[in-house]
């Protein structure tokens, strides 16, 4: 693994680099450190969510409810903040994470105990979560003047020149890097996606592992919900509408196999950054939004074609070894 995946990551990294150089040739200011920091900060929510989604996709599931989970948690903590302006921010963050994790747990239980296909479960909960936002907010917005200064200020507070939002993403990447490489849970996640039948005989509980993946994805969506609402200082029913597809796209571009079992933290992060760069750069150099969509779409197709190609190569090796069992 240490040998295989860097190839894919190196390709993606060079693609991002080439893209940035191309942009810099038209607009040199883009690669100024301060602008790159802005782009990173802008991409931070996508990075965090892509990591959660990666865990889910690795276990052969998918979580389409992340953006709705984010919006519902965001609305809930915004309303809590309006009702109790003095509640300290760490408490708000804990509430956001627990709320998100609880919603993820609902997805997980439905997949684990009722064996409903994950795409159906999360399509359903996605709609339900959006509906609940409408019910609790009665369709009204929570605006910046209603929120406390501490609430909206936290993600923008700067530590060592970077906003807390960026630091959160960096911290998440580190935690996930360790979790995936160095904990039994991380190993089980790869095993469940790689070969669920074999995982059962190894003593791994496949359903429970998938459940935990959904809880992790939900917790990150909850955390991002607070950061998102606080950063943009507004909460309403439709925030982050359609964002779940961008999150899945980041994973796919980052080489996370939709069939499960193959992928890396580095890939998911680079996939998110690639989309972030495209999204931030094209408007700057006056390229129409049409190209933005076209480039994102092409990136997804190229990434999938690339994965399919490597998957096919692997198939051939298996066949060959079956041909010569008597060697």
């Amino acid at each position: 693994m240490l040998r295989m995946i860097p190839v894919r990551e190196a390709i993606l990294g060079s693609a991002i680099l080439a893209l940035m150089l191309l942009i810099a040739s038209r607009f040199a200011g883009f690669i100024a450190p301060s602008n790159l920091a802005n782009v990173f900060n802008d991409t931070a929510p996508l990075i965090i969510l892509a990591l959660g989604q990666m865990v889910v996709i690795l276990t052969r599931c998918i979580d389409l409810s992340v953006a709705a989970n984010l919006a519902l948690t965001g609305m809930a903590v915004a309303m809590i903040n309006v009702a109790m302006p003095d509640l300290p921010i760490p408490v708000i963050i804990v509430i956001a994470i627990l709320l998100g994790a609880a919603m993820g747990a609902i997805n997980g239980v439905l997949v684990w105990k009722l064996s409903i296909p994950p795409i159906v479960v999360t399509l359903g909960t996605m709609t339900i979560f959006r509906g609940i936002i409408f019910l609790i907010s009665e369709g009204k917005w929570v605006n910046s003047h209603e929120m406390s200064a501490a609430f909206t200020g936290f993600p923008r507070a700067e530590i060592l020149g970077l906003p807390v939002l960026s630091w959160t993403a960096i911290l998440t990447v580190i935690v996930f890097g360790i979790m995936m490489a160095r904990t039994p849970l991380g190993r089980s996640i790869f095993a469940v996606g790689g070969n669920p039948h074999a995982a059962v005989y190894t003593g791994i509980n496949v359903g429970k592992t998938q459940f935990l993946a959904f809880v992790i994805s939900g917790a990150l969506a909850g955390l991002t919900g607070y950061l998102w609402v606080a950063r943009y200082a507004v909460a309403y029913v439709d925030i982050a509408g359609g964002f779940e597809l961008e999150v899945v796209a980041a994973c796919v571009i980052g080489g996370i196999s939709i069939a499960g079992g193959i992928g890396s933290v580095g890939g998911a992060v680079l996939g998110a950054i690639f989309l972030g760069v495209v999204k931030n750069a094209l408007p700057v150099i006056n390229i129409s939004p049409f190209w933005l969509l076209a480039i994102s779409g092409s990136a997804i197709l190229i990434a999938v074609a690339f994965n399919a190609q490597s998957g096919r190569k692997k198939g051939r090796i298996i066949l060959k070894s079956e041909e010569v069992p008597h060697d």
Partner: protein, 508 residues
């Protein structure tokens, strides 16, 4: 018997089929006569399935002739065989749940209207005639998903007959049927006979062979042993023809010095799959589990390993009662299971070798919830060396290894858990003789190291050659425990097929 019944419709003569490294059929002959049922009898691996595949045009033989009505023909494709009127009702026929019975019968060859559309009226009327002919109690408009297994089987039969078959091959048709359904199938076979069709009937069950068959042909290890009229032979003679063999396989020498009791199972039962399974396994012992396919052996092993839950029963390990609720419990208690389908249930492609080996042992290689890669490597290296695993590096993806080396990774994975009991389900199924010998050698080594081995196997020489004791299961029950002198091929087959001593007297 009229004169034409003495001329076979289909006659296979000196048919040979080889696969790389294996001779599946060696100059076999098989004749199928009109209006008669011929049983093809043989152990697993005798070449029955290969014969069916040659008759239906899926395999092309390497030598020999197939004659239809005394004319030599070449079955180059399944289409040629079906045009010749040969049709097979497979063990697991592929049918479509969401289509109606009529559509299932005629899928691929439905009658057309002049405009090229499917003529549904004609399709359903023909289907109705076929269904009535075999006494099916449902309409051709019924959606297939509403039918039970037995009725689905009737649909499969109707589909086979819809191509105007002269030769019908039934490959273990009663395996999934209840007693009443089996009786109905017998009536159907009788009516097909009356219509003058030649029937090839493949079965392991002696009672049904003697009940409905007119002729028999016996294969052993891909070679023809004998044939004749069923009226001229009794069960014992047929069993002897089936299993009597020259000892051509050499099994490793084992000193059967076994130690204390390691595993005791008492009264394991399941609502539908098995009942009252009890036995004792000693240290260093190889205990064989023999039975026909579907006798409940794998189902019991899965319950013992915690994949399914038994309704009753106690399992003692080293004299202490242990409750095994999940595979993780089983592994923690020193029981491991190497399943039959190792390709699907063995190695995890995508993970490197060392991570595959350490996967069930992560508890030992981690500290405070974090994995120690150095210890994982140490563990993996130790077992890779013991098993002589050939790989460029333990960091390599398992998917890049050859089949044999992947198998070693799977075995290393289990040995690394330091088990006391290792369950091997059909350990040599589908592998060639050279690799079989290596697996047998390895099993003997495991037992010599003090592991207790449970070997589920359907291959008689392997069961006899490797086991200290053999438990025979039939229909979910233990019917015999054989060792030493009682452990003969005849005894195994008799107990597994349910031929009682009393019945032998009557037949004789």
């Amino acid at each position: 018997m009229t004169a034409h019944q003495h001329t076979p419709i289909v006659s296979m003569d000196m048919i040979t089929k080889t696969f790389p490294g294996v001779k599946a059929l060696d100059q076999v002959k098989l004749d199928l006569y009109p209006g008669q049922v011929t049983a093809l009898v043989g152990e697993n691996g005798a070449g029955k399935s290969t014969t069916v595949k040659i008759l239906t045009g899926i395999y092309t033989p390497n030598g020999g002739t197939i004659r239809i009505d005394c004319e030599a023909v070449a079955f180059s494709s399944p289409n040629v065989a079906s045009e010749a009127g040969i049709t097979a009702i497979q063990q697991e026929t592929v049918l479509f749940d969401e289509l109606s019975v009529g559509e299932n019968i005629f899928i691929g060859h439905a009658p057309r209207t002049p405009f090229g559309l499917i003529d549904t009226t004609k399709m359903h009327s023909t289907a109705k005639a076929l269904l009535d002919g075999i006494g099916a109690p449902f309409s051709s408009h019924t959606p297939l998903r509403d039918l039970g297994i037995a009725n689905k089987h009737l649909v499969a039969i109707a589909r086979a007959l819809s191509v105007d078959a002269r030769v019908v091959i039934m490959d273990e048709p009663t395996a999934a049927l209840s007693h009443k359904e089996i009786e109905e199938l017998y009536e159907l076979v009788d009516s097909l006979k009356a219509q003058g069709k030649a029937i090839l009937f493949i079965s392991h069950k002696f009672d049904e062979i003697f009940r409905i068959v007119d002729r028999y042909t016996v294969f052993r290890d891909g070679a023809f042993v004998g044939d004749g009229l069923i009226a001229d032979i009794d069960e014992n003679a047929l069993v002897k023809m089936m299993v009597g063999r020259a000892v051509d396989q050499i099994f490793p020498d084992r000193s059967s010095a076994t130690g204390e009791d390691v595993l005791q199972v008492v009264g394991y039962s399941h609502p539908t799959e098995f009942a009252d399974i009890g036995f004792t396994l000693k240290r260093g012992e190889i205990l064989g589990f023999y039975g026909l396919v579907g006798a409940g052996r794998s189902e019991f092993m899965q319950a013992l390993f915690g994949i399914t839950k038994p309704s009753k029963g106690v399992c003692k390990i080293n004299g202490k009662i242990k409750i095994i609720r999940s595979p993780a419990d089983a592994v923690a208690n020193g029981i491991v299971y190497v399943p039959e389908d190792r390709g699907k249930q063995g190695a995890i492609i995508g993970l490197p070798i060392f991570q595959n080996i350490s996967l069930p042992s992560l508890g030992r290689t981690s500290h405070n919830g974090f994995l120690r890669l150095a210890e994982e490597f140490k563990l993996a290296r130790e077992y890779a060396e013991r098993l002589d695993l050939r790989a460029a590096s333990l960091d390599q993806d398992v998917g890049n290894l050859s089949g044999g080396n992947q198998q070693k990774v799977v075995i290393a994975k289990w040995l690394a858990t330091q088990p006391q009991v290792i369950i091997l389900d059909e350990p040599t199924k589908g592998i060639d003789i050279g690799s079989k010998a290596a697996v047998h050698e390895f099993m003997a080594e495991l037992a010599a190291l003090g592991l207790s081995v449970i070997m589920v196997s359907s291959e008689i020489p392997e069961v006899i050659g490797m086991s200290d004791r053999v438990i025979v299961m039939r229909d979910g029950l233990i019917v015999a425990e054989l060792s030493d002198k009682e452990l003969t091929p005849e005894n195994l087959v008799r107990h597994a097929a349910g031929i009682s001593a009393a019945k032998q007297l009557i037949e004789a």
